[in-house]
Each structure stands twice: as C-alpha cells, then as structure tokens.
C-alpha cells in the first residue's frame, strides 16, 4: 500500500522535517526509522524536505541508463538555491526560504538514496549556518570538545569510544561545525550516528577547542600543525556533496578561519596502550 510518512529528526537543537511520499514498505524508510525521531516539537524545522520515492527508471534518463547509481553527482546554483542530480539516485532542489532550507526531491526506492539525500541536506544546512559538515567524531568534556578527523577506518570511533568514559558523545562519524556568537566554533551532532546506542545527541552545540587529525602509525606522537597544513587537512575532511564556486569559496573561508583560530594537530597512533598514554597526557594538558 502506498502511503505518506512525516518524520522529524533532531540533532543539537536543529530539526529536519522530511515528508516521504510513495512509501511502499518499511524497507524504503529504514535509514530514517533507525535515527532519532522526535514528535511534538513545534519549532520551525531548519530543513523541510518533500520527497517522492520513485522507481529506478523514472530517475534515469533513457540515454544514461548504463550509468550505475551513486557514481554521478552534480550540483548547480539555480535561482538562489541548489539543484542536485545523481542519475538513478536522486534529483531535486534545495533553496533558502526565510533563513531556513526547503527542498523537493525525487529519490530512488532505496535506503541508500534516501540517506544520501539527508546527508546532502544536512551538509547544506551547516554551510547555510556558516560552517560545514566534517568526517569526524567528537566528544565533549567539561563544556568543550575536540574533533577527531580522519577517513573511514582511521580510528575516529575508537577514540570517541575511549573518551566517552569521561565525556558526552556528540557524534561518531560526521560532525557539524557552526560559528559561535562572539567568536569560535561549536560542534553539533548529526542524524547519521547513534553513539554508543544512547541516541543522537540533542543538546546545544559544544564549543570546539581543537582539531585532531588522526593516522594510525608505528609510533604514537602528537604533531602541532601550521595553519597551511591545517587548512589542507580540514578541507580534506569536509563532507561536501557536489561542487560549486560559491560553496568552494565558503568552505575555504571556514577552513581558513578554523585553521587559524583552533588548535590543530596530527595524532599518529598505534592501537595499543601507548596511544592512551599520549592521548591522556594531551587531554590533561588541553583540558
């Protein structure tokens, strides 16, 4: 039976409302239904999405049916907003309306495509707020937090899990960063991780003290980074979907400010006890 569902996702005081049309079964919605859903929240959502689930053929032009899903993604600025197109996965626009974002999309009957759409929307939300979305984990401690940035498998979750003993997990895989009033940056949860099974962090954004770029290595050591190296590392870990000149300019601005305003270092570590010694010592010095 085809139906319509409305979900509201909450993360670090932000709300995304998503109305999904053409739902044929729970499989269509699994990524959303696994995330933190709130009800009865009367605030105006930061992002409002109308989504029509489509079959594969409806999303793929005749001439491009040999292109596999998720391999092509484009972004173009149109009439004050963005148009996204990924053949066989999604197509639609996201535009700012009264300081919020509003989007209308056709998405493939596939949890992966729907999750992809939400990553686009949340990434655009944090850009809209003057920051960005990053491949990182974050744990708050005594009112501040450090971001641990790295590719998949680098150890973001390992580090966040270890630090969880003395702090509050914000996110394990993707972290939103927004500018704070009066200067500095704050970290926000995203709907894409359910840290430690405790539900998505819904508290206020947490001031960021520093950025730690993690690499597994033979020896454990911390290396402070110069602003140029920090800038390049920050840009490498931006979770941006599609490109445009305006977006590139904004992300360069954000990365440049973060590189100069925050403590940035590289953590080379081994997954053994020596790692915790170095990290604990660093934490004590920083906190």
């Amino acid at each position: 039976m085809v139906s319509e569902r409305v979900y509201t996702l909450s993360f670090s005081e932000h709300l995304v409302e998503i109305t999904v049309h053409g739902v044929q079964g729970e499989e269509d919605l699994r990524p959303i239904s696994d995330w933190s859903i709130v009800s009865g929240d009367c605030r105006v959502p930061d992002v409002r999405l109308e989504v029509w689930l489509q079959d594969h053929a409806a999303l793929l032009p005749e001439a491009k049916r040999d292109i596999p899903s998720h391999t092509v993604e484009s972004i173009a600025q149109r009439e004050g907003g963005f148009r996204y197109y990924s053949p066989g996965a999604l197509e639609g626009t996201l535009v700012p309306v009264d300081g919020k974002l509003s989007g209308s999309f056709q998405v493939l009957h596939s949890g992966r495509a729907l999750e992809g759409l939400l990553k686009i929307a949340v990434s655009q939300l944090f850009c809209h707020l003057g920051g960005g979305l990053f491949h990182a984990s974050a744990v708050s401690h005594s009112g501040i937090c450090f971001l641990f940035l790295g590719p998949s498998g680098a150890g973001k979750t390992t580090i966040a899990t270890r630090l969880n003993a003395g702090g509050t997990p914000i996110s394990l895989d993707r972290v939103g960063v927004v500018p704070r009033e009066g200067g500095g940056w704050a970290a926000c949860a995203t709907p894409f991780s359910d840290p430690f099974g405790a539900g998505t962090y819904a508290g206020p954004p947490v001031p960021v003290r520093g950025l730690v770029f993690i690499h597994q290595a033979e020896a454990t050591r911390m290396v402070p980074l110069e602003p140029l190296t920090a800038l390049k590392n920050i840009l490498k870990h931006v979770a941006a979907y599609g490109r445009s000149r305006e977006l590139d300019e904004q992300l360069l601005d954000v990365a440049e400010r973060m590189a100069t305003e925050l403590e940035c270092c590289e953590l080379h570590f081994t997954k053994d006890e020596r790692f915790w010694t170095v990290l604990d010592r660093s934490q004590k010095e920083s906190l």
């Binding site: 110069e226 602003p227 140029l228 800038l231 390049k232 840009l235 490109r243 000149r245 360069l252 440049e256």
Partner: protein, 101 residues
C-alpha cells in the same frame, strides 16, 4: 623563428572564474573543481598566480625580475611552463591580447 609559422598573438592570462583559492602563509591553495582535489603552489608559483590578472608572460617576467634573482630568460621559461600547466588543468584561461582580460 620558423618563417612558415604565422606570428602568434601574445596571450594574456587570467584565473578561471570558477576556481576558488586562498593565499595562506605565502602559498596559494587552489580547489581544483574538475579533479575534486586541492593543489598547493610553492612560494614562487604563488607569486605568479597572484599577479596573473590578465597579464602577458613578458609583463609577469618584468614584475618578477625585481623579486627573484634569476635571469629574464629563466623566468620566462619557468613562468611559461607554470602557466601552461595551469591552462591544461583549466585553472587559468588564456585571452588574446586584443581582448579584454
């Protein structure tokens, strides 16, 4: 000069309007749109990049001669090679000298 070849109109060069970049600590960091990656120029190349704004190679040589302790010939060769690479990567656009840069 080969008499069979028509004389080439000198070109001016400008940074492509779709390219975003920043100068940090005397080095230029460029977001390369078509390659989805970052390019960091060394200090010398950064000097050239930041002076491109519609200049011919010979004009760049004259400006940079006063900064770098190398001959005009060496500068012309190095700047020409750098600019060619940037054009090849669609980061810099050549404009015939008669046109508006």
């Amino acid at each position: 000069m080969d008499p069979q070849q028509p004389e080439r109109t000198p070109l001016r060069y400008r940074i492509d309007k779709d390219v975003a970049y920043r100068t940090v600590a005397d080095k230029v960091v460029i977001v390369v749109p078509r390659e989805n990656r970052l390019l960091t120029l060394n200090v010398t190349a950064s000097e050239v990049w930041n002076r491109l704004d519609g200049k011919e190679i010979c004009e760049l040589v004259m400006e940079l001669e006063t900064i770098f302790d190398v001959s005009a010939e060496t500068l012309a060769r190095d700047i020409g090679s750098f600019v060619d690479q940037m054009v090849e990567r669609h980061l810099v656009v050549p404009v015939p000298s008669g046109d508006e840069p």
